[in-house]
């Protein structure tokens, strides 16, 4: 099984590496000191098993799992016993190892991973939205938060995330512009740039290459401009 290690502590990575070397079923592909690097890697490559620390700065192990559409099987490695119950809410987590890890316990966890089926697809934060006619539910920190669709005036793509701006509040969700655009009514929302979708009802004015929407000036790409112009009730 091709495996990865994600742990911000070099000592822990070295110990898990040693445990992997002694297990004939495992082949270490890469190790990462943080989840972001691992996410980038997994966008290009695959793995069968991940040894994942929970407590990491910025991005916890659970956050990491949530970002993956189809996570491989995961064995958590942690100094904290208190997350065991939460851990088994995830289909992809096959075992939970409390540091310091012995070879015997490690091998037992690997056997569980071998027997486990490939993990199921994790709910995508946006594609799994419980969409009703007027509402959109987005997954933020494992909470499904309801957003009134009509209150959304702008969505901006930034890297692996989208910022959803409403009149009351802004939300950051791990998803893509295309996924959210597919969930929104076509008669209200329009992609005007590769990084922006707007709610056309809230346009204040339009200049040559930009739209003023609420207090945001949003660029309009040349290719999207004709569609925008078609939507307007021009005098």
């Amino acid at each position: 099984m091709k495996c990865l290690i994600i742990d911000d502590e070099a000592t822990a990575r070295m110990i898990i590496n040693q445990l992997i070397q002694k297990n004939p079923n495992l082949e270490l592909e890469q190790e990462f000191p943080n989840a972001m690097q691992a996410i980038k890697y997994l966008n290009q490559e695959s793995a069968d098993l991940i040894f994942l620390d929970i407590h990491m700065p910025d991005f916890t192990g659970f956050d990491f799992i949530q970002t993956l559409k189809t996570p491989p099987n995961v064995i958590l490695t942690t100094s904290d016993k208190s997350f065991a119950i939460e851990a088994f809410e995830y289909d992809c987590i096959v075992d939970y190892l409390v540091k310091p890890i012995t070879q015997e316990r490690f091998d037992k966890a690997v056997q569980k991973a071998i027997k486990a089926k490939p993990s199921k697809k994790v709910e995508d934060p946006v594609s799994e939205l419980n969409k009703t006619d007027n509402d959109l539910y987005v997954n933020i920190d494992r909470r499904l938060i309801k957003i009134d669709i009509s209150s959304i005036y702008l969505i901006e793509a930034k890297g692996d995330y989208i910022h959803i701006k409403t009149f009351d509040k802004n939300y950051t969700v791990h998803s893509t512009l295309k996924k959210i655009a597919d969930k929104l009514p076509d008669d209200l929302f329009l992609k005007i740039h590769r990084s922006f979708v707007i709610n056309t009802k809230h346009i204040i004015d339009i200049e040559d290459n930009s739209v003023l929407i609420e207090k945001d000036v949003v660029p309009v790409s040349r290719s999207n401009r004709p569609e925008l112009m078609k939507r307007l009730n021009l005098l």
């Binding site: 502590e9 070099a10 000592t11 822990a12 070295m14 110990i15 040693q18 445990l19 002694k22 407590h55 100094s79 904290d80 540091k99 310091p100 012995t102 070879q103």
Partner: protein, 105 residues
């Protein structure tokens, strides 16, 4: 008698591979003083939550060096720091000091 750091876990892990043992101890030797310093700095600035996270990280090294009682102590201390209580600092610093001396020897 107060418990002393030891290498039994590291020996067990290495299966006699001295090269691995030396490399692992070198990594611990590099990380431990850094982590201890960050912990003390967070305490100094009154950031007990962050200090609790530091204790959490240090717990792994405490366990690697076979300090079972100290590990239990660190668990309590971590929980207390999360609640904004810092009554065990002196004793915890003593544990860290013992580990630092041991790892450098």
């Amino acid at each position: 008698m107060k418990e002393q750091p030891n290498l039994s876990y590291i020996h067990q892990l290495s299966g006699g591979d001295k090269d691995f043992e030396n490399k692992l101890l070198a990594v611990v030797n590099r990380e431990l003083p850094e982590e201890a310093e960050i912990f003390l700095s967070n305490l100094k600035s009154g950031d007990f939550k962050e200090a609790a996270s530091n204790v959490h990280k240090l717990k792994h090294k405490i366990s690697i060096l076979g300090l079972e009682e100290s590990y239990c102590f660190a668990e309590l201390y971590e929980d207390e720091l999360r609640e904004g209580i810092n009554n065990r600092q002196a004793e915890f610093e003593e544990i860290l000091q013992g580990m630092l001396i041991f790892i450098k020897s």
